[in-house]
Amino acid sequence: MGISMVDFDRFLFAFTIGSHILLVSVSIALALLLSVFEFLSARTSDRYYAAFARRLIRPFVVSFGVGTASGIVMAVELVNLFPKFMTLVSETGVIGVFYVEVFAFFAETIFLVVYVYFGRSFTRRYARWWLTVPIVIGTLLSAVLITMVNAWMNTPNGFDIGAFMATGAVTGVNPWAPFLTTSTGYEVFQVTVGVPLAGIMLIGGYFALRHLRARDPDERTLFRKGLRVTVALALILVVLTILAGILEIEGLYTYQPLKYAAIELNPYPGTGLSENLFGWLSGMSVVGALQIPGLQGALGHGAYLPGLSQYPSSEWPPLIIHDLFDAMVLGGVLIGLFLLVFAALWVTHRRPFDKRSLAYGFAFFGVLTELVMELGWATDEIGRQPWIIYQVMPVASAANYSSALLVPGILIIAFYFLLVPLTFYFMVRVFNGRPLDLDLKGPPAGHDANY
């Protein structure tokens, strides 16, 4: 049983990006938390918040360093694995989106470097917090701009698509159009709230476990304060993520109706359709699904919703995306409910931070949120198959068929299997590197870094 080079290219890129977004979610969350703790420290002069900022910057530098290199790996992989795709990207305005992304990346880098290595020369009360603001904006903008490229892949524009399909020539180029496609707003909103949520839940889960195991009063106070901040942020982000998800699915049936039909497992179009939870298609009948009559129609505001029968089956994406989507929604609902229970206990002074079950629950839901984020990304990408650029360029036309990629590709996969766990290990190790009492007293003499 062999694997075709197209499938190998697909798998390699999916594997790399799947690993990369784990690092990205934690990186964005760390930047956000760092900024919040700096703000709280400046506002309240609370030494625990200051200690948190001091501790978080270390794993942030690690995640930034590895994440940056991993981002370059992906950018180069795109050229190596899908050269015809990247050629079209470079002949149209999409490359401009990448170009602007580098500016955001620059802002993030410079302010990070200034904050980490020269931050102590900023002695005014809010000055250090101000330094973190461009880091957060730059980090988020990098994610936003790369999402804009993904949006263009789903809803391409900015060149004469008809002429390209007919002749293969790129004409009628508008270099600025890819900055705003039909799906840009939906996707950007989803990513700007969903990705930080995943990272914050994971970090919150770690804080919950550390709080549970802490014996030292200072350590308990530190992690309790950290948990409060992460729970508050997660609550805001989970509400926004649900809203973004609803908006995106509503947008989907107008700009990618086939993907919508596959996600919802609608054999036929119509109004007032049932919501199919899991299940599969046998012929043109839905089998094994838990059906909720009328729910899909109600969520679609009574619109005429698309069905698979409207498209030739050769164009259908793999229908596994229906299960991936349902698993993602189920996971999202559970995460939302968990946070709701946590918040209710917090508001009613029932000390949720001290409950063993909730601490383990937080750790579990932290990991689950990362999984849900991966499922969301997989739904989006598999849902576009067999296209790399929706209805313009199939993956099979874009791929590199050279078998010379096999060995280097396997090397990269092996390398990532080592790199990702090692990075998380080092992030935890440097977070705990300095004894807490020293971090509570203030920054170390000399430099924060080892030199």
Binding site: R58, V62, F64, G65, V66, T68, A69, S70, I72, A75, V76, V79, N80, P83, M86, T87, V89, S90, G93, I95, G96, Y99, V100, E101, V102, F103, F105, F106, A107, T109, I110, L112, V113, V114, Y117, F118, R120, S121, T123, V173, P175, W176, N400, S402, P408, L411, I412, F415, L419, L422, T423, F426, R429, V430, G433, P443, D448, A449, N450, Y451
Partner: protein, 321 residues
């Protein structure tokens, strides 16, 4: 024609800045490997706050190159695929090891020294891969543009290749004590730098006699000058100024553009014929102009803060929190 030149030169200028920053790291890597205890403070004081910036310039160059030469993406990716993968692996190893090293507290056998030296090894290997790829692009050694293959045997048996690589490494070793102001190694700097320049000149001549013209005298002179001036303690402070040396390095590298323009791969590819055209030219130039302003302002801020933090506080100024 002038527009095409503009696109090439913008891209090449970014490349020159990136390569200068990378070479300064490479020089630090030599010292970290062979002179760790004595050189670490001076090297790390520079390298630790700069490695992220070097990486960012690398990304900027890659993206602008994709923008400028869309039709070259496939040929270059096919030609150098294996070396690009090696480059990526060493790059990740470099970033990971230095970011781990910065904040690690020693436990058992793993400490900052081992991680900084791992960074130095990764940087050195990265440098060797970069030099191999660059020399292939300049000379066409080992390259078959018709079959889109690159043969390492073909590259290594070209008479210019080994001297080219050797020359770069010797130059790095020779200039490292100047850049990092390691006075104990002063006496080695001028002979090694001069030797490096001579070997580079020989390598270029061996690749193609047309590569070695009178133009080479300018970068050669600018390269040897700091090493010569460093021999005089009175001039040492001036020539070890990193901003000044960085600027000179960028000028030297930028002056090498004639090696790849108007043709790269030793006449194999005419750059103008693979440069982007149409409305993308305007977009490239507009975004590049915006980039000059944004990146210029950010780098200005960075240099200002770095300079300020190294200056002793004025009397009566409160110390850092």
């Amino acid at each position: 024609m002038p527009t095409t030149n503009g696109i090439f030169y913008v891209n090449f200028a970014i490349f020159a800045v990136f390569l200068t920053l990378f070479i300064t790291e490479l020089m630090g890597a030599f010292l970290l490997l062979f002179w760790y205890e004595k050189a670490k403070r001076r090297v790390l004081e520079y390298v630790v706050p700069i490695w992220e910036v070097t990486g960012t310039f690398a990304v900027l160059w890659v993206v602008t190159a994709d923008f400028a030469y869309p039709s070259m993406l496939f040929p270059v990716a096919s030609l150098l695929a294996a070396y690009i993968v090696l480059f990526l692996i060493f790059l990740v190893a470099r970033n990971a090891s230095i970011s781990f090293a910065e904040f690690i507290i020693k436990r058992r056998w793993l400490d900052e020294k081992k991680l900084y030296q791992a960074y130095a090894v990764s940087t050195l290997l990265l440098g060797i891969v970069v030099v191999i790829m660059l020399s292939a692009i300049v000379s066409g050694a080992g390259v078959d543009l018709t079959a889109l293959t690159f043969s390492f045997t073909g590259w290594v048996t070209d008479p210019g290749s080994i001297p080219y690589l050797l020359g770069v490494l010797i130059l790095g070793v020779g200039l490292a004590p100047v850049f990092y102001d390691i006075s104990e190694l002063r006496r080695w700097t001028l002979p090694l730098t001069t030797l490096g320049v001579v070997i580079e000149a020989v390598a270029l001549d061996l690749y193609a006699s047309s590569f070695l013209t009178w133009v080479f005298l300018v970068p050669a002179g600018l390269t040897v000058l700091p090493a010569a001036a460093y021999q005089h303690p009175g001039l040492a402070k001036a020539v070890t100024n990193k901003v000044l040396l960085g600027f000179v390095g960028t000028v030297v590298l930028f002056s090498q553009s004639y090696l790849v323009y108007p043709t790269a791969f030793h006449g194999g590819i005419t750059v103008d014929s693979v440069t982007t055209t149409g409305p993308m030219v305007g977009a490239y130039l507009v975004l590049s102009a915006a980039g000059v302003v944004i990146v210029g302002a950010l780098m200005g801020f960075y240099l200002y803060v770095a300079y300020r933090s190294r200056s002793p506080p004025a009397a009566g100024t409160p110390g850092p929190a």
